[in-house]
Symmetry: none
Subunit: 447 residues, 3 copies
């Protein structure tokens, strides 16, 4: 970054500084030696007395040194303060401590072309988050992230401690995202469309637990053991728990060429609650209307979800696809199988490449920045997604939809998006036979 | 500004600095001992010589310490850190990026002299807000402000993006205050009394939308198009929307002399909800009792509000007045007309002037600061306000009240206020004929 | 204005820097001399051995110096930025302004061995707090602390203004903790176990009010007058109010030896609500099950609580005990007396001492830090607590429990705890005769 270059090039002339150094006292070994020599008679009483006087006198002399500090530019500052990516970043250059304050705001507006049930045009603040994140004492990390659109505990997102003192293995404990599903691992700041695909009905979200992961350029493995979500309160009932793991492999991982493969599994027991449900809106959020919805599935003992991921980046073009299969085990009733998949393709008209980093996608830095004489990055995208929540007597609905989107990134911290979603078909459930469509816009700042 | 010039010369950069600390020399007592032993013949000349050589050699060995310091020089701008107005401000001196963290806390206590209905003495945290605000890539700005006294979305206040790259025209998108009513445009940190006047029943508040404004020393124009409020959720119903605009003109705008004139209009459709209501407490908040209240007005299609503003600053004296007229259009029923006005006068005993800035009032910097040997700024104020919510079959009540207040500003960041409110009369509605009075105090820090 | 002039002249120049000065080792010339004297026979083998041992011992003693360098390229240092204790700290070096951003996250997991009523295993984010705290214009302080596990006002913790311009007396106004009970005065970051003892049923918590306190090395006095809690809303009813005071005396207050004595009283009127209740979980929080619970006590006019405190630190060992007696005055019914006490002992296996500071306990800095080659601080603790909520017709229950705990402090900012709580007996109330036990773990970052 330009800022960093400036810092590295800056060289400082010498400045005067006064150091009150600790007094250089007689080491205790010298005193011992003098006492020995006195006892041995090597030095006489008068000599001994003179030495003791001198030691006493010296011990009262403060050693005040005036020194010239020669400053030379090297790698990093001691306390480094940065703002060039938005937010406020503070770091000690010995890498012992850091802290960053950042956040995101997404404001949306949606217009619905209903086909039967009313969906409700409107606006909303989709997310309004602040976080503080950093590390301390070299090996430890921490984060607290809050979404102000949620009330109380429901707003707590990432809230954890990490330990990074092992070679290549990171331990994490607290409220963390289960390692499952590529579109979930990728931050909502960086997903291609305003909302994740229909497949998000199978998302695991965050739970309180512990996770170990190892991340390399070409592969990552993460596995965790989790209790329930942060907003679940027991009220005398045992909460649910789960375990999940994810393995990704990127045979090609270059700056503008990526092939990503992933598999993941997520097993959860429902605890004393004994229920699960799956539902999803039409790749929108303002309406609140779930075009597929199993309702509450009673006597559910556990769920097992398996997922497969594929993503490709080839210059300005990118492709991403996932398939999830989910089975629900019920007490005293047959098991239920649901599944779904999506495939999305995107293209940067302005030539940027989607950023891939250790098993997930990160943000875009436009080549040309609005505010520095540029026009930002422009991206077009299309997605097909489908999900099937019909099985046995459960009629949650089968649905598929096509979404086309345009993204404008005026800077690395800003994004404006427009999405048109067309629900092609709903088969079963409350929205059976309906084909609503919608247009949604978003403004976002995030860092 | 001199301030900025200096800032541009400063730079915050990291450097490695090498300290050539004073050599840890042989304490003089050791030298004395060696001389003694030589004189005593305990060590011979050769040994003595070797010791002297070693001492000389050691005295030339610098003890080099590597330390990291954070410094600035006068060559290039980078990062500026400030705290002198409270909060934490970070700015890149090339004006590309900034961030400020600030907030406010207001704690109140109120005692009611009821006249019929119980009003409920008590205390409350009236507002407890934090915000992060800044700009990035020169042309863009952002803000997120949250009030912790609200739960979930209800606490989201300012949350927007701005674009400042046009000459004199600012674009703003997100959750923003409609440009309507002088007492609403003026922050709750800076209003003259603890609560705004009865006229606030016609306040528009914040909505999610877009706004364009141009602000000059002697005039401002703002106009926006808005959806509904951040805490409205559609639940399958179309939200309301509106548009509003405000024009202000200050023929005189000097530091201690101001004449401000303003007109504004606000039109809103109610959406599928189809209702509006107007209500207001007696210029207090703790009680929760609304002395005027139309209840829910059904079949309301839209509201149109028109306002006129006048404000004068003449040295320590200031005056402010507004009139608002509101009409509600109802489906299948006659329209409703409500209105109200207030006039307030204030005087700084300590000689300060109210600060006017581009169409609204800002905070006070006392000439004499408590903590620097001073006594702060002291202000007396009086206000008359009245509102009429009676029309046709709607009997929301007509009320008027007189408020006297005293404000003490020990510093520019602190304020302590005492208000006595006397409701002169209520005509119609649940509080018909009652004349309650109340005393309210507030402590506030804000920056 | 002087203020602004100073600000314009100052730039970001102040820096705190820690210098680890080179160890003052035995100069090589001393070693040479000793060898010579040994060879010459002036000192014998035994003496030589003792000197060598001393030199070796001394060479392992690092001479660590903490220095503050004040760098200036202008008249005076202006802003200091620190991160070495976690969080972000900014200070103007003229001591006029400061701000610190900090927080804490505690995540818990609990397993219950119920004995009758179901208690509900689970996880939770126990506390997730951020705060901004600082001072301004030399004499004034402020704080806003929010706990994101609470919704809306319920999450507001410390939120106040302080005035420190008097000699030795601090005034505080806002939402503050009543000065009552040692385990409540000690932050939840620093209590010995994951939860406070059963005695916390008598905790006063925070109220909106004013407080004066004077704090000295050997004694403190605090007294305040308070309205109701921040989450109480009047709804036409007068809120409650109270007054409380606390006196502590520490005849011994050295770094590793402390004797603390304290007495405190808390009087509250219930206001128009006219009710009180006392209840407590089994030194856990996830379950939500109160093993003692008076239910709502109607027609309660006021409560008076009196407490006595004792705490001792002797090196790595510490002891803490409190007794609280509470009486409830009822209109038209006999008064009620409740009481309880606890005693806890703790021992640092790694030799640290509990930190005592002006009437309460503060955090631990491990001698050996994980991330710097160390293993942290380890502490074992045991507690007995009992509370009696049975009186007259009120059968809230009498209960006692024993808790054993282990704490690991890898750094001064991190803590991992495991607690085993065994409820010995419950006599009366809904849990009569039950003896549940539980195991609870916590991870915490805090600064």
């Amino acid at each position: 970054m330009a800022n960093k270059t400036i810092m590295k090039k800056t060289v400082l002339t010498g400045i005067i500084c006064t150091i009150f150094a600790a007094q250089v006292q007689a080491g205790s070994e010298l005193l011992t030696l003098i006492n020995m020599l006195h006892e041995n008679g090597t030095i006489d009483d008068a000599q001994y007395g003179r030495l003791m006087d001198e030691i006493n006198a010296n011990s009262k002399k403060p050693v005040k040194q005036k020194e010239t500090l020669q400053m030379q530019n090297d790698k990093e500052p001691a306390i480094e303060l940065k703002i060039d990516k938005g937010g406020i970043q503070v770091k000690s250059s010995d890498n012992e401590f850091s802290a960053k304050i950042g956040g995101r705001v997404q404001f949306d507006s949606a217009w619905y072309n209903e086909d039967g049930a009313e969906m409700g045009n409107g606006t909303e603040i989709r997310r309004a988050r602040l976080y503080i994140q950093g590390h301390m004492f070299h090996d430890w990390g921490y984060k607290l992230q809050y979404d102000f659109t949620g009330a109380g505990k429901a707003g707590i997102k990432d809230a954890f401690i990490t330990y990074n003192g092992f070679n290549h293995i990171q331990l994490k404990a607290g409220n963390i995202k289960d390692p499952f599903m590529l579109q979930e691992q990728t931050s909502s700041k960086f997903i291609t469309f305003t909302e994740r695909s229909l497949l998000d009905t199978f998302a695991s979200g965050r739970h309180i637990g512990i996770m170990a992961s190892t991340k390399h350029k070409h592969w990552t493995v993460s596995a965790g053991f989790f209790g329930d979500s942060v907003s679940t309160t027991t009220a005398g009932k045992d909460e649910g728990w789960g375990t999940s793991g994810r393995l990704t492999y990127a045979p090609i991982n270059q700056k503008t060429r990526v092939v990503h493969l992933g598999i993941a599994g997520d097993y959860r027991e429902t605890g004393d609650a004994g229920t699960v449900s799956f539902k999803q809106q039409a790749e929108t959020h303002i309406s609140g209307a779930n075009i597929v919805d199993t309702g509450i599935i009673a006597f559910a003992d556990n769920t097992l979800k398996l997922g497969a991921e594929l993503a490709i980046v080839e210059g300005a073009f990118s492709l991403q696809s996932e398939y999830i299969w989910t089975t629900v085990e019920r007490n005293g009733n047959s098991g239920l199988d649901f599944d779904g998949w999506y495939v999305e393709a995107a293209y940067f008209l302005t030539g940027e490449s989607r950023n891939y980093n250790k098993g997930k996608f990160a943000g875009i830095s436009p080549d040309s920045v609005v505010g520095r004489g540029g026009f930002g990055a422009w991206q077009l995208a299309v997605r097909y997604s489908t999900v099937d929540l019909n099985d046995h007597e459960i009629e949650g609905g089968w649905a598929n939809s096509v979404t086309v989107g345009i993204n404008w990134f005026p800077t690395s911290t800003l994004r404006f998006s427009g999405n048109y979603v067309n629900v092609l078909d709903v088969d079963g459930g409350a929205y059976h036979g309906e084909e609503p469509s919608l247009f949604q816009v978003r403004g976002q700042w995030a860092f």
